[in-house]
Subunit: 357 residues, 2 copies
């Protein structure tokens, strides 16, 4: 594949990224944020590419978001941008990880989040006043994952952070539930009132989520957005109306290896490429140009395609598939195939793949 110069020569299965589309996606959302006075801090979990993070910052992003320390380390290893502003939206726990966080803080402008006193105490033990760490309090605005449930609980943690010599309260962070902008706005309005009553400043409010990305300005209390998926887009965002098929930068190229029945075919991409993430959708991806086909089951190396009538595919046919959830597909492969101006450029190593710690 490294010598591939045309689509025909791409060895399948492969995940192909049209970099023109990806860069257009970056510019379009940066323009939206500029228009609405919002800071953009893209989550790199979708692309995991230092070069694309550099591009995002060059277009106006204030920094990047990572989810784990190892992911941040891999990104900094590859990025050309100096003095990156980097937020890790995760509870970092344990002395070993806090030591790595300390080392990381010397390579970038670092901030993290916390939603409990144990995590804050651990961070406080690893940092001192000479180089304090910025810590956001994570708030549960309805997604019911991490985050404190009330403004009062957030204030209590903010006080704990401000009381630690090595920490600075940076503001409030949330990963919001989709389709609930009014509720998220209400949550933060209440938090502002509770904090103001105790004269505790909230330096910044940061929120995320590609599903509601074009309505983010309606949640007018946020300073910053941390969208990830929209750099490539995927079937879940198209089905939601957030993106169109032509905005999907990543497609999985697969070959039909068997047509064992009139209404059934099998491709060489299974869960090791497409993953089992369904995000509530029917099937395991959209076959471009073939709305009649459902990828109805995956095993590790086989994808099964079915249709109501004759499937009209031949062994050897190649198909392009928009995955349900693009972030997890990127994480499956050591390298993607880069496309520019319709040309196959070559392999694109996924620098921060598989970084879970």
């Amino acid at each position: 594949m490294s010598n591939a110069t045309s689509w025909d020569q791409i060895d399948t299965p492969a995940a192909c990224v049209d970099m023109n589309v990806a860069e257009a996606n970056v510019r379009a959302y940066q323009a939206y944020c500029n228009q609405h006075g919002l800071d953009l801090r893209p989550h790199i979990k979708t692309h995991k590419l230092p070069s694309l993070a550099d591009y995002q910052i060059a277009q106006g992003a204030v920094g990047i978001t990572c989810q784990k320390i190892s992911e941040a380390e891999a990104m900094l290893d590859g990025m050309r941008t100096k003095d990156v502003d980097l937020l890790i939206t995760y509870n970092i726990l344990g002395a070993a990880k806090v030591a790595r966080l300390k080392a990381l803080s010397q390579r970038c402008r670092l901030s993290v989040v916390a939603d409990n006193a144990t995590v804050i105490a651990g961070l406080a033990a690893g940092f001192d006043a000479s180089a304090p760490l910025d810590v956001y309090v994570e708030c549960n605005t309805g997604a019911d994952r991490c985050g404190v449930d009330s403004a009062e609980a957030a204030l209590q943690l903010a006080d704990q952070i401000n009381a630690a010599a090595g920490l600075r309260f940076a503001g409030l962070m949330t990963y919001p539930p989709a389709g609930k902008i009014a509720e998220v706005r209400h949550w933060f309005a209440e938090a502002q009132a509770v904090f103001a009553a105790k004269s505790v400043a909230i330096p910044r409010i940061t929120t995320g989520g590609s599903p509601d990305m074009w309505q983010a300005h309606e949640m007018d209390l946020a300073d910053e957005l941390r969208v990830g998926t929209c750099v490539y887009n995927d079937r879940s965002l198209v089905e939601r109306g957030t993106a169109k098929w032509q905005n999907c930068a990543l497609t999985v190229l697969a070959t039909v290896v068997s047509v064992p029945a009139e209404n059934r075919a099998v491709i060489d991409a299974g869960s090791k490429v497409l993953t089992s993430d369904q995000l509530g959708l029917n099937g395991h991806g959209a076959v471009l140009g073939r709305d009649d086909i459902v990828i109805d089951s995956l095993s590790e190396e086989h994808g099964r395609l079915v249709s109501d009538g004759p499937i009209d595919l031949q062994v050897g046919d190649k198909l392009r598939i928009v995955p349900n959830h693009v972030c997890v597909v990127v994480n499956m492969l050591d390298e993607l195939v880069e496309i520019r101006d319709g040309q196959v450029i070559g392999p694109l190593p996924v620098a921060a793949r598989g970084q879970v710690r």
Copy 2:
């Protein structure tokens, strides 16, 4: 993690393999096959470890099964066994892949499968009589994935294989549906009759599937079994009654990073470790010792745990999780943690991880 010498020092999330359990699983199933006069050709997709494949062969396996060429290449690169007998149970298609297959055939005793004339023609073009390739015909015995639907169709492909100078018909292969041993037996009995009527020998019948592994002898027409998952076992096999919890060699070690509500906790292992494979089960893995907990949702780096009553977990607690489907978990990580005699040995690189082509 590379310096970890105790469980406490393992950085989480991590997938830990108790090699004593894995080796006992290998020996137990080899003994079953020996008792019933069955050849065992384990599928390496579960462990992806050359050293464990060597162990399987040393215990009596006749060879190994791989699913893709790249997987076979990675295994041979690392194995110490000389002259490995290696079956790739996949339709290999396209000149580039057939050329790689040819190169592979010079490194081992190789066989492949085919379920259509296009694949056979491609193989025939790449091999010649000086070193013919063994080709099985894949049969659909009810799993409705790949495979020909009838004994007559199988015979037609066997004839095509035997007519090609560079190919040899090796026999019939199936990936059987679970719980349908009688039906699979019936399929092959019919095939034997159809082939015998035309005086075409079936050198070998090979079948697979861990779910029915302990009943495999009832399908008494098979010469060979290609089980994979049972080297480690997982929640799906325990729930099916095929294995017990103590036979599960791989557990995911995770840390509780948040307890945001009385009945909810969040661990640092999400779909990037546990994957979204549910195999029909409720939740995303079994928390050992905590039957009351369900891992009810995963995002990439978060696993959400819920219980009916108080969840009784503290931030910092470590949990061991038996995944629903172990093969796909192994594929997520560049390295596992090897455990022997209760001791942490160190990192175990997953040599054939992510090999999809």
